[in-house]
Amino acid sequence: MTLQPAEAAGHVAAAAAGDRRAWEALVTAYSGLIWAIIRNHRLRHGDAADVSQTTWLRLVENIERLTDPGRVGAWLATTARRECLRLQARTRRLVLVDGHPDPASDPLYQGEPGPDAGLLRAERNDEVRRVVELLPVRERQLMGMLMLDPAPSYEEISAAMGIPVGSIGPTRRRCLEKLKGLVPADGMSGARANSS
């Protein structure tokens, strides 16, 4: 888990009172989750930085008004996801108004590394990454979220991906079963296939 609810609530209260170190603790705990959400939405790099900053600025302006400070991670995830959808809608509208971007160069179409590539690059084992990339996109995204460090809670993943909390465990188990089937018969060279 990133932060226990009581710990998160403590950081929120302290940051609201002006404690910069508490704010930085929140940034450390949740910036990876926010970035993973942004990568999953395949925003252009400049837009990605804007969404990240909008999310944190929204927290600053709401930090004294959060109804449940212990769930600030889910709040941030929901905010980031909604800002991603806003940027995607804006880009779609611009495409409609201004004509189509060049499919050969526009990252919306191709050329961007997959979201999971970014997440999984942090993983030490390239072979694990290659196998996970064989999963369908939503399952890849879920596994990417589960592999984040610090690992988000199921509630935060639910808010990040817009899926019910109750579906995460079964989907995770299903993914792990699939992954077992995808591992080469001779196993992974020197890999620690972490199935926990």
Partner: protein, 168 residues
């Protein structure tokens, strides 16, 4: 209607970044937390310094995502419409934004309609503007994060409002 802007302060590239400045093109990956680019992490830490200086008017409607309660199906789809409001009362702002080349043309209507000064915090520049007597003004900003600090001019007890940060 003529935009009445003054006190513009462009933000030079070599000046210390402001809380709402973000890297134009962060590296796609980084060595920071969870592969977040370090420049994005720095910006997130800086956001702390943007604590609101006035009551925040939340973004309660954005034509990009929300179904228009007024059912304005005839509205120009190339113009984005946003509504900022506070929980209680009718104070707030309506904003329309349309892309004009490399900038965004913004029209602000202060609610309830009244003359106000507006501090426009935007990408690359912060400037002061003054609406007309009906609380309306137009100005251009670069695409990026924007927040408006609105202070009524004639109110005996001016209660400034700050619009939620939004990416225009």
């Amino acid at each position: 209607m003529t935009p009445q802007t003054s006190g513009g302060s462009e933000h030079p590239d070599d000046a210390a970044p402001r809380p709402w400045d973000v890297p134009d093109d962060p590296a796609p990956e980084g060595s920071g937390v969870g592969s977040v680019p370090e420049s994005v992490l720095d910006a997130a830490r800086r956001a702390f310094d943007a604590g609101p200086s006035a009551e925040v008017a939340d973004l309660v409607f954005d034509s990009l995502l929300d179904e228009d309660p007024a059912g304005l199906a005839f509205a120009d789809p190339s113009v984005r419409r946003l509504h900022f409001g506070v929980d209680a009362g009718d104070r707030g702002a309506r904003v329309t934004a349309s892309e004009t080349g490399e900038s965004v043309r913004v029209t602000l209507q202060v609610l309830p309609p009244a003359e106000a000064t507006v501090e426009v915090r935007s990408k690359g520049i912060t400037f002061l503007a003054r609406t007309d007597q009906n609380g309306i003004i137009r100005f251009d900003v670069l695409p990026g994060l924007v927040s408006l600090l609105i202070t009524p001019v004639r109110s005996p007890l001016p209660r400034p409002l700050q619009t939620a940060w939004v990416r225009l």
